[in-house]
Structures are given as structure tokens and as C-alpha cells.
Symmetry: C2
Subunit: 137 residues, 2 copies
Amino acid sequence: MTTTDITPDLAAFIDGLKFDADGLIPAIAQQHDSGEVLMMAWMNRESVRETLTGGRVVYWSRSRRALWRKGDTSGQIQRLVELRADCDRDCLLLMVDQVGVACHTGRRSCFFTAIRDGAPKIVAEIVADPDKLYPAK
Amino acid sequence: MTTTDITPDLAAFIDGLKFDADGLIPAIAQQHDSGEVLMMAWMNRESVRETLTGGRVVYWSRSRRALWRKGDTSGQIQRLVELRADCDRDCLLLMVDQVGVACHTGRRSCFFTAIRDGAPKIVAEIVADPDKLYPAK
């Protein structure tokens, strides 16, 4: 997917999404080829529009109350391969190509804690040094 | 995963989850072997507990304001293979074995609308008759 203009079809699609009372919709990011679920974050109308037209995933940061162009700080961007909506139009699935790691802990996926044998276990390795991803911290 | 008692570790894990102001946490269901993302729904504390101990996925229905033991009406249950939490403990990933279809439209996944060539396209077939899944409707 490359940079493109907003089309009337895309504008109508975005208008048909069900944003919550805060104007947000949950978005699941999945590595397009391996199927790994990488993370879940939130989008507002503007971030959906920018993601669909820019080809790079942009979320809405609830803590910073600002557009979150994932990777601007860490370089770990997500290229959009395909965006999908669910039957109720209240959740998005982003099939992406993740550069490096999705998680701020330096793991590929944020879902690295699994319940096994009745207790939480960490099931993924740190593959990137968080201090190098976020040098200003 | 089979039926089990709640352990102190599981109770502590559930206590550590970040439920929102409505007492809910988003949960993504993924077919454990194919990697297909099936649906996203919501869980409350009780539904997480019942899912972890019962081995069958139970959500919270926001519209019905009740526990939603998926498949009670349609038979399309989800057996839990593994539950994972994300780094912020505010989202769950349910790796499941989906019996039949996840979507009320009779499609395997709820995410059957994709943006392709600048417009929404339906990219999955109906594989189960919704009138047979929900005969009372």
C-alpha cells in the first residue's frame, strides 16, 4: 500500500465506523504473513484516515492525547498491508508489516504473558534493547 | 485446557488486569493453529475467571449486560487453548479452537470487510447459514 488520496468510498467507510464516546475505535495489529498478533491500540477518525491514505499505521495515544505515528521515536514502524473492519464496524484489524518489534519492552509482540499450568509465564524473548529504542528515556 | 480451580496465581493475575471504567477489558480471539483473528469482544472479571477455569470462552455482552457463554445459542463455542495478556495488562489475547464460525453472519471471522483498491470489499464467504445458527431469530 502506498500513499493515496482519500476517496469518497474511503470517506464513507470511515463515516460508517462506530467510534466510542471518546471518538475511538480499537485496532488490532497482526503481522500479515506470520499471523502473529502484535498489539492492540486505539484510533480516532483522523488516525484511520491517515493510516489508510499514508500506508503507515497511526494510532491515537490516549495517555498523550495526540496522534501516535508508531515508530517516530523508536523507528519500529508498521507498514499497512490491509485494513479490515469487523461485522459491527466497531473494531479494526490492521494487517501490517512490523519493522523490528511492536512492544516497548523490546519484544516482537505485546502479548508475551501467557497463562500456563495455572500461572502467568513470560513466553517471548526481548529481541531489541529498549534503551536503544527510546534513547531519551 | 480442562476445567480447573482458581489458583492464587490466577486470582492475582486477574486482579492485576486493567479493567476500564465499565469493568471491562477487550479480548481478541485468534484461531490457535491458523493464526486467523476471529473476533474482538469484551470480558469482565467474572468472564475472565470462568474462561480460565472452565476452558471455554465466556465474554460479557455489553448489549445484553450479561455473561455471554459464546455458543450457548449457536453451538459455535470457543475452546480456550491459551490466554495471554499484553504488556500493559489492558488487553487479552485468547488463542482458541473455534467450533464452526465465530461471526453471527455465518462467516468464520468477523473481520470480513477489507479495504482494497480504495474501497471496502467483502473478502470471506458465508459458510454457515445464520438462520440455522440462530433459529429463534
